[in-house]
Symmetry: C2
Subunit: 307 residues, 2 copies
């Protein structure tokens, strides 16, 4: 199995959903015989979910034996480890468009990085399958393919169809613009009182990560940047984003906010960020939680500033 020094764990604590060590068992996905063997493995485990929410058994994820007589088309094989293959059951009844749930925030502190990463992967896949029962190309029904890592259109008679569809991963840039020793933070209307974070937005077709960062800062805050640098990335299973955290140098500090997206934004110095990260009573804002990559982007900047 691959080993990796996870990118820049500045605080010694990883962002949520980072650090999964499950072998994703790619060869099994393309081999019906290996799939059948994994499904029939007496050690096979079933990760329990409540809708899209995690289910804990003590301080880890609840995993039960696979039920007998189950239909492989109802499951995703998440991968395998020393305990054997691990599956999750598909569920068409999960709420569509569900965003992050308090149950995830409650569970996360109990879980290892690996367990939280397994949950995040399972959540993203169950959610994707629930929203892809039909073929976007022809409107026909789809069925599970490749051990749950794809769906295939059943409508072989339509032009070109039998199309294969793969789970989405939506890249999102999240960035701290820096000017004169301060960084720009903002808040959305629906956030808890006092919470501010890095600005963020989806990458669009036809742009680099760096161009997406520049566009978002221009659209949301009216600032122009001269330089963008990558810091770290994080999977974010609400629904299935890939957060890409960057720093950017702003040409000046005049703001023109897009008030449909951003309720408020301001420039903050290292002392203010440090106070917020420490949860001090007089801090200028409420910092994002350790699960969020923005928390680690703030730590990265404080370290860079020697603060």
């Amino acid at each position: 199995m691959p080993l990796i020094d996870i990118a820049k764990p500045m605080s010694g604590v990883l962002p949520g959903f980072v650090g999964g060590t499950l072998d994703r068992a790619d060869p099994v996905r393309n081999d019906p015989a290996l799939q059948a063997a994994a499904f029939a493995d007496p050690r096979a485990g079933l990760l329990m979910l409540n809708g899209l929410d995690p289910v804990l058994a003590g301080d880890t994820l609840a995993i039960e034996p696979m039920p007998s007589g189950a239909d492989p088309a109802d499951f995703v094989m998440l991968g395998q480890d020393d305990n054997g293959p691990l599956f999750v059951r598909l569920n068409a009844d999960v709420p569509h468009g569900a965003n992050f749930s308090p149950k995830v925030w409650d569970a996360a502190p109990h879980l290892s990085a690996n367990a939280l990463a397994i949950y995040g992967t399972a959540r993203a896949l169950v959610d994707w399958h629930a929203r892809h029962g039909f073929c976007s190309t022809c409107g026909g029904g789809t069925t599970v393919n490749k051990a749950g890592w794809a769906r295939k259109c059943l409508n072989e008679t339509a032009r070109d169809c039998g199309a294969e569809h793969f789970p989405r991963v939506d890249p999102v840039t999240i960035m701290l613009a820096e000017h004169d020793g301060r960084v720009l933070i903002g808040r959305q209307h629906r956030w808890p009182q006092g919470r501010y974070s890095a600005l963020a937005g989806f990458v669009e077709p036809g742009e680099t990560l760096e161009e997406a960062v520049a566009r978002e800062l221009w659209e949301e805050a009216g600032i122009t940047v001269s330089d963008v640098s990558y810091v770290m990335s994080q999977p974010w299973p609400f629904a299935s984003s890939l957060m890409v955290a960057c720093m950017a140098k702003a040409v000046d500090d005049r703001l023109t906010l897009d008030e449909s997206e951003i309720e408020d934004a301001f420039w903050v110095d290292p002392a203010g960020v440090r106070a917020a990260m420490n949860g001090e009573p007089g801090a200028p804002f409420l910092a994002p939680p350790v699960m969020a990559v923005a928390h680690h982007l703030f730590l990265h900047w404080l370290e860079k500033m020697g603060a």
Copy 2:
């Protein structure tokens, strides 16, 4: 408009599709009155495509006036510049699952970075719309929304439906693993004779970019890496990928190839890469073209090695 030093144009030449300067006009997408005004603008231009292929007028993209009486639901507004708004016509008849076309390689050397980026964006969007005439959630029909930057399900009666769907951007890692002053290159079965490049693979739900790099190198070449670093990114409109180029340090140089994915792979030193990049007759492989981000990843490595 945002200005940006495009990430690391090592050679002074950008990878293809990078460097677009069109204002994507986000506020117009959410405002029907602004959309109508853009559509009625006498300066409005229509980017011509032949299926998904580019159409040239001399040494630039062919752009014609918008036809009168056209239905806004048949177009994407790509953005606007000093010449006014720019549109492209949707086309449900483009080949599904088309991969890159020789017409793009023929056209690219004639085009500016900005023109090639505009074409890439248009191609990715026309392709996406052609494959998303139906709602993946309920199977109902969909229609253009947000000036072509989304589609909306027309089936308001189905449970939860009227779902909004956004164009896909599929992140792909492409990487050079490095060991003892050499990098690993490989070739796929369908590539032109002699062509080798960096290994690559799609990012999956639940993993970071760095974890995806480590997994791909493990799956495809059987090597373990201890460190991954980001180099640059590139939009790649076949169909709509975001290429994320990285370096990785391999723990050792023993290879176990996944022969279903990789026909051959070997370790090459800076002199060999330099000879390939120069197109020398005795070079150990045929290098990827300047349009591909892999070309720029090789240049990045040669510069780092002082070669």
